[in-house]
Structures are given as C-alpha cells and as structure tokens.
Symmetry: C2
Subunit: 166 residues, 2 copies
C-alpha cells in the first residue's frame, strides 16, 4: 500500500490515502470538534471507533503527513494531535461531502446544520475556516472571524430548539 500505487490518478491516490470508513471521521472530529487527544477522539464521537482502529489510523495518518503529534506538556502520556497543512486543505472536500450527504442521505437536522452553513458560506467561509485551523493547529496568527464559533453556535441553537420542541 505504501509503494505500490494502483495508478497516478489524483482521485485514486486520494482514495488510497483516505478511502476507508474511519480516516475522514477522525479528521472531521479534529477539524470540527476540536478533539485533540486520543481519549477525546475515542469517546466523544458518535460513531464509536474502536481503540485499536483509532490507534492504527492515527499512526497511518501521521505517517502520511495528514496529522502531526506532539507531547502534551501537562501530561507526560498525552499526545496532542494536530491537523497539518494538507489536512487543513481538506476543508473544501469535507464541505462538499457534507453538502452531498445532507441532500442524499437521511442526515439528522442537528448534525446537518454545520454542513448547511458551510455550503451557504461557500469558498469565502472555507478559506476563513482554514485560516482559523492554521491558528488552532499550526500556531498561525488568530484571525478575526471564527467560523468554528459560528458553526458551534448554530449547532447549539438547533439542539436547543429541538430540545424545546420535544
């Protein structure tokens, strides 16, 4: 899988890197959920990834340059996983994926609101979000606009609305 590539097609090579059921889930959680530790990724996502799968994917993604890991100074065993420039550039792909899923699967309202906002926001919002991710994950200067906060606020608003409607 490392050396023997099936073809030089960019779509194929992307699939060889990310074409499984978990890699993009992990990147999604890092990106939209700001989960940075193993335990957070393990327990706080709805899909319920197994610890061995998570460990394997974190290793693979790190090896292929999509994630980086550094030690957490507050805890000798904890590692902090970060997105890298290549994985930050997956924002448009994940936005399109969310937009498609929102239309063509039975996605829940609560979990679709972020996809809806990202779709409406378009490329301008994507680049703003990428700027913010560079600040959060790569130490770049913090931009004024926080797309993350916008998405989170919208999500919580839908959750609150639906809780009231029950």
């Amino acid at each position: 899988m490392d050396t023997a590539q099936r073809s030089g097609c960019p779509i194929n090579l992307t699939l060889e890197m990310l074409g499984d059921r978990w890699s993009l889930i992990i990147i999604r959680d890092l990106m939209f959920g700001n989960r940075r530790h193993f335990r957070e990724l393990l327990t706080q996502s709805e899909e319920g990834i197994a610890s061995n799968i998570l460990a394997d994917r974190l290793r693979r993604l790190t090896e292929s340059g999509l994630l980086s890991r550094r030690d957490d100074p507050s805890h000798k065993q904890k590692g902090i996983y970060s997105l890298t420039e290549p994985s930050i550039q997956l924002v448009p792909l994940l936005a399109q994926m969310g937009a498609w899923g929102r239309r063509h699967t039975q996605a829940s309202e609560e979990l679709s609101i972020r996809a809806e906002l990202l779709e409406e926001g378009g490329p301008a919002m994507w680049t703003a979000f990428m700027e913010e991710l560079r600040a959060l994950h790569l130490g770049a200067p913090v931009p004024e606009r926080s797309v993350f906060a916008e998405l989170q606020a919208a999500y919580l608003a839908v959750v609150a609305k639906n809780a009231r409607a029950e």
Copy 2:
C-alpha cells in the same frame, strides 16, 4: 450496514455509502471515462479492479440509488450502467478530490490535467458538466457546451506532448 447507521452526520453517512477504495473509482470511470458496460469498467481502468469486486460494487451502488442499470438491446447479457441524479451531483466532490490529490499526492501529469481544468473552471464548469452528464445518462436535452470534450481534448494534448518529449 443497511439499517444500522453509525450516526446521522452527513459526512459519516456519505462515508458509509462511498467510503471504500472502489466505489468512487467506478463512478469516476462512468463519469469521466464514459464507461457504461461491465467489461469496459473491468478492463479499461488503470487500477485493475477484480471482477467480483466490480460486480459487488455495481450491485451496491445500484441498490443505493447511485447507479441504474438497463439492458443493452444489442446484446441480451449486456447491461448499460448509468449515473443517476445523486451520483451526478458528486461532480463537485470529485472535483475537490482531484484538486486535493493533485496538490498533495504524486499524481501523474497526464491524469492530473482533468483535475486541473475542473479546478480552474470552478462551479460554472461543474454545473455545465452536470448538465452534460444528465444528457448522457438521463436523457436530458444535450447542452451546447461539452465539458467532457474539453477534458478529453486537454488529456489527449498532454499525452501527445509527453509522447513527443520522450
């Protein structure tokens, strides 16, 4: 896999439908290579899919509404596979995937030219291509612009250029 979904997240549901190493390859070939028969999909793609996997994926994709199959009147055993509206709407996703792969993998120049054009063309080109796919696969009226021809011409130009340079 049919009934038990891991979560209602649109990204997750998209991954559950398309998150493997072959489904999008097949859709790509149908979309950009205009392969419509089992044999064409089996033999004319660089990645070399096995026939059992192809049969399995064609069945799954058809069941989930991403492809449709009709009999070929010229041959009792042949089927003609077509994209459906949901899979035609994967154009922006595949465009983003190609754009990402072109930047972050060692994609070959020849196979990257389509991705490059689609990226430069942007949403206007994507919707034009989707119109054309609706004509090719769903019997919609044929639009004036043929993105398919543009992509093919660019691809052949690069192939010719590289053949000369050898």
